[in-house]
């Protein structure tokens, strides 16, 4: 269904630029042609409806092309963080049951090692020709004959994503073509048009980047400018500012970290073309909002969403200063209700758990009965976020009910990290908590460990780094004789922070 949006854009405005990446400019007509060729090439390799295909690529035109090609074939996209370590990638690929993985030169080696261990056939397709004799995307492009791809059924699975959530392992979130098309329609509510240019600086494998840039681009016919290699953003902020100015970017979805670093950048920055800046992932600290506004004359608006629901709300208020703390009113057909611990609706202004009903929301986690019972009730998704609705129907978030740690826009499940720390032979018991980071509004990860023999902080961090993506690794380890617990055995986290 997303593909039909691209066909509409390519037919209405074939020469309109769809993607900009380095010196490359790809029109909607060219993008559609590439997608059809890759889809045909994948089909020749036996990929078809219902097959899961891993996408372990950095953000570039290959990512966008393969993303649409996999979905248009009726196969299931499994986008993963290319910075994940081997155990994390292996978990994602196994849980989704991938038939193939598309990788680049950075991820090819580890992906090949992973699929080599599968007990059923799976292959790695490389974006680059430099890696052994594996099939390449260039090869698929050459061999595939472009043919119009049929519309998919709304109930077919479009994408498998992963959500952190206090269970120790990420949960597999399937969303259908119908649900993702519904999310694209919600992005249309933000008023983007073919006149807009969106800067893609948040990862496209993540729901936010996928929604704002891939779905938002397709539904509006806007141009998407991809910031090449956005990490480390501290060194890339100059390039981001350069692109914002040179490409006359009008829409910039970012995370608080982006806005703070750009506001502090020493040079550059006529951002007068910008009309919409969105911040999501974690609460935007007031100093970052003010510094960015003062420096560039554009006010950042908060946006709210989740992997399970896609976009929920965005602050489109006429007075973004007075309402800066709000993530806005629910978009389109999305409904938000605040409930108490018993799941009963709460009055306006009262604080409770945010629940969401949305046409873009998943029907539930794959093969996880208990988490589904807890999180999905009567068509409502229980987000685990705390918030309240004001008299104008705008949502204000106030922390989390679930124990998640927010690092640079990612949500880290402390139990996943804890399981790794406890796997160290010198650790008897461990608890992982979020503590205030060096910068206001950001958290750091702290592990509190009870050792059963001599163990050094450095050794434990090294152990975690081998098994977890860098953003999940504890920055601090504190050794204690015991974990503080209540008489009933409940862990007293307040004494660990």
């Amino acid at each position: 269904m997303l593909m039909q949006l691209l066909y509409e854009q390519a037919e209405a405005n074939p020469g309109q630029t769809a993607l900009v990446y380095r010196d490359e400019r790809i029109s909607y007509a060219e993008l559609v042609d590439r997608i059809e060729r890759i889809a045909a090439g994948l089909a020749q390799r036996g990929i078809g409806p219902g097959d899961a295909v891993g996408l372990a690529l950095r953000d570039d035109p290959w990512f966008v092309t393969c993303f649409h090609a996999i979905a248009a074939l009726g196969a299931r996209i499994v986008p993963v963080n290319p910075a994940f370590k081997q155990p994390e990638l292996e978990f994602c690929f196994r849980a989704a049951g991938v038939r193939a993985v598309i990788s680049d030169e950075r991820t090819a080696g580890v992906c090949e090692r992973i699929v080599a261990g599968f007990d059923r056939p799976a292959e790695v397709i490389n974006a680059s020709a430099a890696h052994d004799q594996s099939p390449t995307l260039d090869g698929l492009m050459e061999s595939g004959t472009p043919e119009r791809l049929p519309a998919r059924q709304p109930e077919e699975i479009f994408v498998y994503q992963y959500s952190s959530g206090s269970t120790g392992r990420p949960k597999l979130v399937p969303r259908t073509h119908g649900q993702c098309a519904a999310e694209a329609a919600l992005y249309a509510e933000l008023g983007m048009t073919t006149e807009d240019t969106i800067l893609s600086a948040v990862p496209l494998f993540h729901t936010y980047g996928m929604g704002a840039c891939i779905f938002g681009g397709a539904v509006s016919g806007a141009t998407v400018v991809i910031l090449e290699d956005p990490h480390p953003f501290l060194l890339r902020r100059h390039r981001a500012l350069e692109l914002l100015e040179a490409e006359q970017v009008t829409v910039f979805p970012g995370v608080p970290f982006n806005f703070r670093l750009m506001a502090e950048a020493p040079a550059g920055g006529d951002l007068s073309s910008l009309r919409l800046c969105f911040s999501a992932g974690t609460a935007l600290p007031r100093p970052s909002f003010e510094a960015f506004g003062e420096r560039f004359g554009i006010l950042v608006r908060q946006l709210y969403g989740s992997t399970e629901t896609g976009i929920i709300s965005a602050n489109m208020s006429d007075d973004p200063v007075a309402t800066f703390e709000s993530v806005g009113a629910p978009l389109g057909a999305v409904e938000v209700e605040i409930v108490d611990d018993e799941g009963e609706s709460m009055p306006v202004g009262e604080l409770g758990e945010v629940t969401v009903k949305s046409p873009a929301a998943t029907n539930g986690y794959a093969e996880m009965d208990e988490p589904n019972r807890q999180a999905f009730r009567d068509g409502w998704y229980f987000t685990g976020d705390l918030g309240r609705l004001d008299d104008d129907g705008m949502l204000h978030l106030a922390g989390r009910k679930k124990l998640l740690i927010e690092i640079g826009g990612y949500k880290v499940d402390p139990i996943e990290v804890q399981d790794v720390v406890e796997a160290h032979p010198s650790v008897e018991e461990a608890i992982v908590v979020g503590v205030p980071g060096k910068v206001e509004g950001e958290e750091a990860i702290k592990a509190v460990a009870v050792p059963n023999e001599d163990c050094e902080e450095r050794e434990l961090i090294a152990f975690c780094r081998e098994r977890l993506a860098n953003f999940k690794v504890p920055q601090v380890v504190e050794f204690r004789d015991e974990i503080p617990k209540s008489p009933l055995g409940k862990i007293l986290r307040k004494y660990l922070v």
């Binding site: 290699d229 480390p232 953003f233 501290l234 060194l235 090294a462």
Partner: protein
């Protein structure tokens, strides 16, 4: 110990700790290989300032100054004059 060796040692022992990296080719692209993230850059800057007595400003936080060990060495030497 040369500046290049000291910088390599700091990257291996502090920034890339636990990644399995035990040496870094001085021409290796540290950014493309995700060896350093934003926090790692901050740590490296603190090390350069204390070790070599140089001042690193926000203007200096550019990929070309941190792309490889050799880039860092060239940057330090330019700053030391």
């Amino acid at each position: 110990m040369s500046v290049g060796t000291e910088v390599e040692k700091f990257i291996v022992e502090e920034i890339a700790l636990g990644t399995g990296i035990d040496s870094v080719d001085h021409d290796e692209d540290l950014l493309a290989q995700d060896v350093i993230d934003s926090l790692g850059i901050v740590e490296l800057v603190k090390f350069l300032e204390s070790q070599y007595g140089i001042s690193v400003s926000d203007d200096d936080l550019l990929p070309e100054n941190f792309q490889s060990v050799n880039s860092v060495v060239a940057f330090v030497e330019a700053r030391r004059g």
